[in-house]
Each structure stands twice: as C-alpha cells, then as structure tokens.
Amino acid sequence: MRRSRALGRIVFLGPGLIYLIVLLLVPLALLLSFTVFRRGRFGGIVYELTGENFTRLIDPLYLDVLLDSLKIATITTVIALLVGYPTAYLIAQLPRKWKTIALVAIVLPFWTNFLVRIYAWIVLLSGPGLVNSTLMKLGLIDKPLELLYNQGTIVTGLIYSYLPLMVLPLYAAIEKLDPQLREASANLGARPARTFLSVTLPLTLPGVITGSLFVFVPSFGNFVVPELLGGGRSIMVGNLIRDQFLTARDWPFGAALSLALIAVLIVLLLLQAWSARRA
C-alpha cells in the first residue's frame, strides 16, 4: 500500500520534477558556478578561482543600482496593493455573472504581447503623443509635458504591467472569506474600519503577501520598462545583468549579480512561506 502510494507520487511528480531539474536547476547551478571564475580577455570564462566578482558586488556603483531597483519595486508593489485591494474586494462582492466578466477583464491585457503594451504607453505619453496633443488642443497647456523618460514613468509602466498579478491572489483570498465573520464583527459592535483591520485584513493577509510578491519579483528584475519608458536614463539590476551578458561579455560578474538578485528573492519567498504557514 505504502509502496504503491510512493510509486504513484513519483509517476505524477516525475515529469514536473524532471522539467524543473533539467531546465531550471541545472542551468541555474551552471550559471551560479561561474561566479567563482574569472572573465576571459575576450569574454567567456577562465577557470581560475577568484572572489573578485563578489567583492565587486559591494562596489557602491552596483549597490546603488541594486538599492534603486529595490526602491522602484517597493513603490510599485505598494501602489499596486493600494489599487489592487479595493479592486479585488469589489469584484468579490459582485454577483456571480459579473464576477466572471470582471475577472476576464483583469486578465485580458495578458493576451496582448508585453512589448506591444509598453510601446502603447510611449504612443500615449511621448512629446507629440496622444495625451499631450489632446491637452494642447484643449488649450490646457501650451507646450508638451515631459511625461516620459523618468522614474515615475517606469513605476507607472510596472504597475500597469503587473497589477493583475496583485488582484488575482487578493481576489482568491477575499472570496474565501466567510461573510458571517464580518457580520459577527458588526454584531459585536465593530465599525466597518475596525472590522476591516481586525477581521478582513488579517484573514486575507496571505493573499496580500502573495500578490505583493507576484508584483515585486518581476518588477525587481525588469529591464525592458526602464529601457523603453525610462529612456535608458536610469538602470535597474535587470539592465545591469543583461549588459554583463550581452555587451560586456562578463559572464562571471553577470552570474554574481544574478546570484544577488536571486538571494533577495529567496529571502522574500521564505518570508511568504513563513507567513502562509502561520495563516
């Protein structure tokens, strides 16, 4: 009995596990093993041990980029949460039919290519773009506003891109909430704000954390949005990593930067797992 159950597990887990090991763990291990070697004169890797790639990580130049990325990803996540929570809450209150429509509407943007959607923002916000030309025609401004190519635009682009990833887990958490708990809270004399803070929020906290993580992780490593909406004027850790691999041909340092990125994300995932277990 026990044996057949173990066998069953292997059969069902097998394909997924093999996929993960071959396509994720092995390449990742290979990549990370490069961190201890040296860059070759013409790029590539020289198999000589060195700690240089790690000492370079704490160079203020790269630390600043890392901190800046953390800042941008954090702001993105907080705003996405503030926008996403009420949205998810409202959707959860809708009648069944409307719920489905609302959820489809949330997911709909994902059916269009990410880059196309980012370019659409450029069309909207650029100097001669739709927003500026409309405002000028209405006579509200006499010269185009500088809407593009700054950190605010990067944050806007990231929020826009990843908001659905915030709404969906929040919706799942809020949906599960038993309405009777809120009624009980009200019956016991709690005002709506109190009910929200003492009942609703704590019970949906796993959704909050999962959603935040879903937004934070891709925002932190993004390199397309800073390049296109930020005009290349500021860089995030994703750009740094891409540049090491694709222009500097410095794979060992690129790998070390990737390791730093992964380390930050693992800490966050552990926090999430810990909070999910407590809930």
């Binding site: 020289v46 190519y149 005009g231 410095d250």
Partner: protein
C-alpha cells in the same frame, strides 16, 4: 554594424538572445590567456579542390545576406550552404569561443571581434589566392586598423557614426559633437545618444579630442564628467528607435549610425561632426576548425561578386567596401540615401574601433556610471 542587427528589434531580440545564452551556458573559453598569434603558414589549401563536393555552414545576422543565398550559391558553385543566424556579436562570440567545434566554416562578425577571435587563435588566415574578387575591394579596405592587409578577415560592410537631425526643427545645422552634448535651446531635451557603451562614449571622446580606443583612466574620467554634464539636457539614451523619434519630432537631433539615419525623409539629414568619428566594419572570417576551407574561401569570393555584394548596399543600405559593387548600384538609391555617397577616404578618416581586451571593462563601467547617476 553588428549590434544594429539586434537593436533594430531590440527587446524581442534581447529576450531571444537571453534564452540563447542560457542554452549555451556551458560555453567556457578554451584558448584565452594564450592570445596566440596564428601560425603564419597554415596548411596549404588546394586551389583545385572540387568544392561542389564540399558543404559549408555560415553564421550571420538575420537579414544581412539575401534570403535565397543558399540557392544562389548552389547554382553558381554547386555546393550546399547552411545558414545559421546570430543576433549579436556577443552570441556568436560565445559560441565560437566555447572550445568545441561549432561546425561553422564562415562567420560574420564586427572588426574588433574578428581581431579578438584571431588573437584567441581561432581564425584561419585568409588565402588571397583563393579569393580573386579581393581585387574588387577599394584599396582603403586593406587599411583597416584591426586587420591591416586583410590577413584574417574580409570586410563586408562599413560605415560610421554621426548626427542625424531635422533640418526644419534645428535652426543651425549641427557640425560638432558639442551640438549633441550641449544642445541649442530649440533642441534641449530633444536629443538622444546611443546606449551601447562604445557609442555612448563616442561624442564626448571625440569632443575632447581623444581616441575612440582610449584606455587611459584619466581620459575616461574626463569623458565621464562630460557625459554626466550632458545627461540632463538629453531626452534619453537610445539605439533602437532614434529614427522614429526623429520622424515624430520627439527628438530633433540624435547620435546615429549612418545606415540608420532615415535620410529618405525630406527633412532629415546626416552629418559627420568636424571632430571626426569612428569607423565600424562588419567582416567575414574563416574558422580554423573549418573542414571545408576551400569552400569557405569560394563562398567569400562569391560574396565579393559585385552583384551579390551590391545587394547589401541596395537592400540594407550599408556601404560596402567593394568598388565594383558600389559602382554598380542604382544611382537613384544613392541619391535618396545620402550616407551611401560617402567615399572610402571619408570613411577612413574615422577611427577604427578595435577590441580593448581587458580594458573594455572600463567602457562598461563608464556606461553603467553614466546611466546609474
């Protein structure tokens, strides 16, 4: 012009390139520290070899050679050609330096990369006796700094970097790199510079009168100061969409590769600033590991045919270092695309970009510092 091939469709290509890198992640580097100069006399090749019995593989940027190239070669030379594509120099470098036989006979890479491959001992010297069409090249094509005399590479396209601007939106036409670095009032915040490291630095380097191949820390520090001073006056760093920004009027003056400046538009012109500029060259190289070296040379000889080489000038609008080919292209195309009229001696006035080896890290750092601040 190398990166152009990837920057034109930059983000998609970069994603693809990223995947390709992950796929080739096992690539180490076999011949590195040796920096061997290749053996002067490689094994003699047989000029009478029956190449129709050989077959060969090339790696090239997408769209850089005619779509039907294999069929054309088959018809002319009787041999089979397999075409593999690479989006960037870095991707093909990663493959070629991985230490195992890639199966490629000929690769298209930019000059400074050909130089690096040669120093790593991976290239077969060119056997001029097997490439009679070398006679079609301009004499200037033998004077390229990274490979004088075409010892290990044969140039395919060449060009330079300059200022591409809107004649209707800029009062005085730009003449100097300082017009980009310190734009006049009407161009303030409407100027872009390139984002790839060597070209990001180019305007400041030339404005200060330094060499594009400088390794001096002191000079690079001054270049950085100048670039940081210019940064607030720029719209952004861009080597993907500057042409579109110019067309829409969002930018009025941009640093641009000659072949990328949309000079077919009525109000757009290209100028090489008075301080001078660079000279970029894309080349063909034969790999030492090639098992079909006669076929490889016959292939290069075929590419240097005015008809096929002229295709590159007419279709992708890059100048080719082939006198016979340049003379044969439709004059209307030259009239419509002014940069095609640049002469080899004008091009040679530009400074060849060479590989800086270990020192290339200085430019990477410079670009990061400028963008991170």
């Amino acid at each position: 012009m190398s990166r152009i091939r990837y920057t034109r469709r930059f983000p998609v290509a970069v994603l693809v390139a990223g995947l390709a890198l992950a796929a080739s992640a096992c690539g180490g580097e076999a011949a590195d520290s040796t920096a061997a100069v290749p053996a002067a006399s490689s094994a003699q090749l047989n000029p009478n070899a029956d190449i129709s019995k050989q077959s060969m593989a090339i790696s090239v940027w997408p769209g850089y050679t005619p779509e039907d190239l294999p069929a054309r070669v088959k018809a002319k030379l009787g041999m089979d050609v397999k075409v593999a594509l690479h989006d960037t120099n870095e991707v093909i470098m990663a493959k070629l330096t991985a230490g195992s036989d890639t199966g490629f006979d000929v690769a298209f890479v930019s000059g400074q990369y050909a130089q690096a491959l040669n120093e790593a001992g991976l290239l077969e010297p060119i056997h001029p006796e097997l490439i009679p069409n070398l006679a079609n090249l301009y004499p200037e094509a033998k004077e390229l700094a990274y490979d004088k005399g075409n010892v290990f590479s044969v140039p395919y396209t060449w060009g330079t970097t300059g200022i591409c601007y809107r004649t209707d939106l800029v009062k005085t036409p730009p003449t100097s790199w300082n017009d980009i670095l310190d734009p006049p009032a009407e161009a303030l915040k409407k100027v872009t510079m390139m984002t790839t490291e060597r070209w990001l630095a180019l305007p400041a380097i030339k404005a200060l009168g330094y060499s594009v191949n400088t390794r001096s820390d002191d000079e690079i520090a001054k270049v950085k100061a100048k670039l940081l001073e210019a940064k607030p006056k720029l719209l952004g760093y861009d080597d993907t969409t500057f042409g579109d920004k110019l067309k829409s009027g969002e930018a009025v003056m941009v640093e641009a590769w000659d072949g990328w400046c949309p000079t077919t538009e009525k109000n757009i012109k290209f100028v090489v600033p008075k301080e001078g500029s660079d000279l970029w060259v894309d080349t063909m190289v034969v790999l030492k590991s090639s098992k079909h070296k006669e076929a490889a040379h016959a292939f290069i000889n075929y590419i240097l045919d005015p008809e096929i080489h002229g295709w590159a000038a007419e279709t992708i609008l890059y100048k080719v270092p082939n006198k016979a080919a340049m003379d044969s292209i439709d004059p209307a195309i030259k009239t419509a695309n002014a940069p095609l009229q640049m002469t080899p001696s004008q091009l040679l006035a530009g400074e060849s970009i060479i590989d800086l080896g270990e020192d290339s890290a200085k430019f990477t750092r410079l670009a990061t510092e400028v963008k991170a601040q």
